[in-house]
């Protein structure tokens, strides 16, 4: 009789309740796990689930002037924006802004991220730190910086004027141009970080292998580097897209009131008009938009990753 056969029999020895001890141990372990999870679950519940549920409930109320909320259950808050071409346009503009900012941000961040991911410099850590250092200053401060740079008498306009390229200042701020420039720069560190972490499959050796198989530098890039960095690019795009369509600071400060996107609309409804139900409904719509985009993203990553 082999050892493995005798082992389970031990449980059948007289005086030994079969499995009782094990069961008790499993139950105790489970209790421990649950106890350990409780703070996290509670934290998540309080900080995420509860406000979300409250917001969704709020979206079915009815808003009256000056912040009066009529507690009821109505779909008006949804029907109104969804049947109003104005809000369709705002939603479309929001989406378009997200896409444009996402694409531009990825374009300018990609070379930096690629360099940082591939460099073998001993200063790599420092270089990455420098690239993401702007995150240490708030988006508000950086947005104000851009207001100064892009303004009528700002750095860009006065330089162009000084060089005699333009006579009248370009309108670079208080419009979508300014918002786009500001957002692209502000989200670059996020894009760079997302890309670096998404370049996991990229390796120097793969590029060398492609080279040794006869690929010139351009082919190495298009056939190996680019396809392999696609997951990072997509993640960065998604991240910047989501951040862009949910931020209100930069569109508000650099948009001069002319850039109307869902986030600024929600902000105006909340703080200016105090119409919380309507603002909540717009937020839910924005949330659905996020969900849709993330669903598409997951499909794509599955495809390119698999």
């Amino acid at each position: 009789m082999s050892i493995t056969q005798t082992e389970p029999r031990q449980a059948d020895r007289p005086g030994h309740e079969p499995g009782a001890l094990e069961k008790a141990k499993v139950a105790r372990d489970r209790r421990t796990y649950i106890a350990l999870l409780v703070p996290a679950i509670l934290g998540l519940f309080v900080s995420f689930v509860l406000p979300l549920a409250y917001m969704i409930r709020m979206s079915f109320n009815q808003g009256a002037p000056d912040g009066v909320i009529v507690e009821t259950f109505t779909l008006d808050t949804y029907i109104q924006p969804l049947t109003d071409p104005f809000y369709w346009r705002v939603t479309l503009d929001t989406f378009q802004m997200g896409v444009i900012v996402g694409i531009l941000c990825v374009l300018v961040s990609y070379p930096v991220a690629l360099f940082l991911a591939r460099t073998t410099s001993k200063y790599k850590g420092l270089l990455i730190a420098i690239a993401i250092a702007p995150l240490l200053t708030s988006a508000v401060v950086r947005t104000y910086g851009w207001m100064v740079i892009l303004g009528t008498n700002g750095l860009v306009n006065s330089s162009l004027k000084g060089m005699g390229i333009i006579d009248t200042p370009l309108k670079l701020t208080n419009n979508m141009t300014g918002v786009t420039i500001g957002l692209v720069e502000i989200f670059m560190p996020y894009a760079i970080l997302a890309m670096i972490s998404g370049f996991g499959r990229l390796s120097y050796q793969l590029e060398e292998a492609a080279g040794s198989l006869g690929a010139n530098k351009f082919k190495v890039f298009t056939k190996v580097t680019l396809p392999l960095s696609l997951p990072g690019i997509l993640t960065a795009f998604l991240m910047v897209f989501v951040l862009s369509i949910s931020t209100f600071i930069t569109p508000r400060l650099l948009g001069g009131g002319s850039v109307q996107v869902l986030a600024t609309e929600i902000y105006d409804q909340t703080t200016g008009l105090l119409n919380w139900p309507f603002a909540a409904a717009l937020s839910v719509i924005l949330l659905v938009l996020f969900g849709a985009v993330i669903a598409v993203y997951q499909r794509i990553t599955k495809k390119i990753g698999g």
Binding site: L50, M147, N153, L254, L273
Partner: protein, 361 residues
């Protein structure tokens, strides 16, 4: 269907706080101290942020503290009266604010929503010095300071102050005009004034005003000037825009007369702030002491000197150089009377009109 305010939020907050095992704030032990001038405790004041906060602290709060060393003042600043109202609505069931200084149209709404207490001359003796026109007809918080909307202009571009609102439409200043669009009160006021100028009754329709304001749109550099409407002119981003007299005067001094403020000949509208005692305020007695001080000749004079708001009490004699720069409240300025409650009721609608038709041509 029942009416309720933001009590839900407060409830949520309390639930949240207790779940987290924190002490629910604002509970304390307020124990209404009854009427009579309290000389100790604390006052939670909600009012405007920025330069207003700085100057009010310097001119009113610091001297108040000197006078009542046992009363502590916590200043909660908000960027607009609407934000103050929102905060007060959130705390309605369990307020942690005592006094609010905010725009009259907004405090009116607060009065209607039962957010504020009525006041009388027993608790606030200085109310006696407030003329009837600045008292609330239902006995709520009175006017504490007066200002008016005007044109803020770059003195280099305008050696002579602009005389008419029409300067905003002047093609010369294309792209160099700033307007603060509704829901800001400045934008609401401009809409009403434009409506009047077009010979329209804004309480019936603002179609003519809308058409006229659409023509303004191409001239506008920004509908939401940042950091504010004065800095935009100071930095040269714009040369002309909407603004308030008080802050305009203040920044004019700060920038060595780089900017000026003018009241156009077609008339203008007041911007009036009231001082209000919050209903069920945790420190009601101290709140009244503070409100009384805010209406004192001392405080009114000091703030007029500091930020050029006109006093709302009769027993003040401003020095001539200050008097000439605050908005006249003696009838010498052409003031277009605006129906503040009506304007409050159409704020959403007008904001929408601006967004859909004026800003987005």
């Amino acid at each position: 269907m029942r009416f309720s305010l933001r009590s839900g939020i407060a409830a949520t907050a309390v639930v949240t706080a207790s779940i987290l095992g924190l002490t629910a704030c604002g509970g304390g032990s307020p124990a209404p101290q009854g009427t009579g001038a309290a000389t100790s405790g604390e006052v939670n004041l909600i009012a405007y942020s920025g330069v207003w906060q700085d100057q009010y602290t310097k001119a009113v709060i610091e001297p108040f503290k000197a006078k009542y060393p046992d009363i502590k003042i916590n200043f909660v600043s908000k960027r607009s009266s609407a934000e103050m109202l929102s905060a007060l609505q959130g705390q309605k069931s369990n307020p942690n604010t005592d006094v609010a200084i905010m725009d009259q149209s907004v405090s009116e709404s607060g009065n209607n929503q039962g957010l504020f207490d009525k006041v009388d001359a027993t608790a606030i003796p200085n109310l006696a010095n407030v003329p009837d026109k600045f008292k609330n007809k239902d006995g709520y918080g009175p006017v504490v300071m007066v200002d008016a909307v005007g044109l803020v202009y770059d003195t280099a571009t305008f050696p002579k102050a602009p005389e008419s609102w029409n300067a905003l439409w002047d093609k010369q200043y294309a792209g160099k005009v700033n307007v603060v669009a509704p829901p800001s009160l400045l934008g609401i006021t401009l809409t009403a004034i434009t409506s009047k100028m077009q010979g329209e009754d804004y309480t019936k329709s603002i179609d003519a005003a809308t058409a006229r304001l659409k023509e303004l749109s191409p001239n506008v550099q920004t509908f939401a000037p940042n950091p504010d409407e004065y800095q935009n002119v100071i930095t040269g981003q714009t040369v002309l825009g909407l603004g308030q007299n008080a802050r305009g005067q203040y920044y004019s001094d700060q920038t060595n007369k780089k900017i000026g403020v003018a009241f156009p000949k077609e008339g203008t509208a007041y911007q009036i702030n009231t001082v209000n005692v919050v209903k069920n305020a945790p420190n009601a007695a101290a709140a009244k002491t503070f409100a009384n001080y805010a209406l004192s000749a001392e405080a009114q004079t000091a703030f007029a000197k500091a930020l050029f708001y006109a006093p709302s009490v009769t027993n003040v004699n401003l020095p001539a150089e200050v008097k000439s720069r605050v908005v006249p409240t003696d009838g010498s300025l052409n003031i277009i009377p605006l129906d503040v409650s009506f304007l409050a009721s159409v704020r959403d609608k007008w904001t929408d009109t601006w967004k859909r038709q004026i800003i987005n041509k």
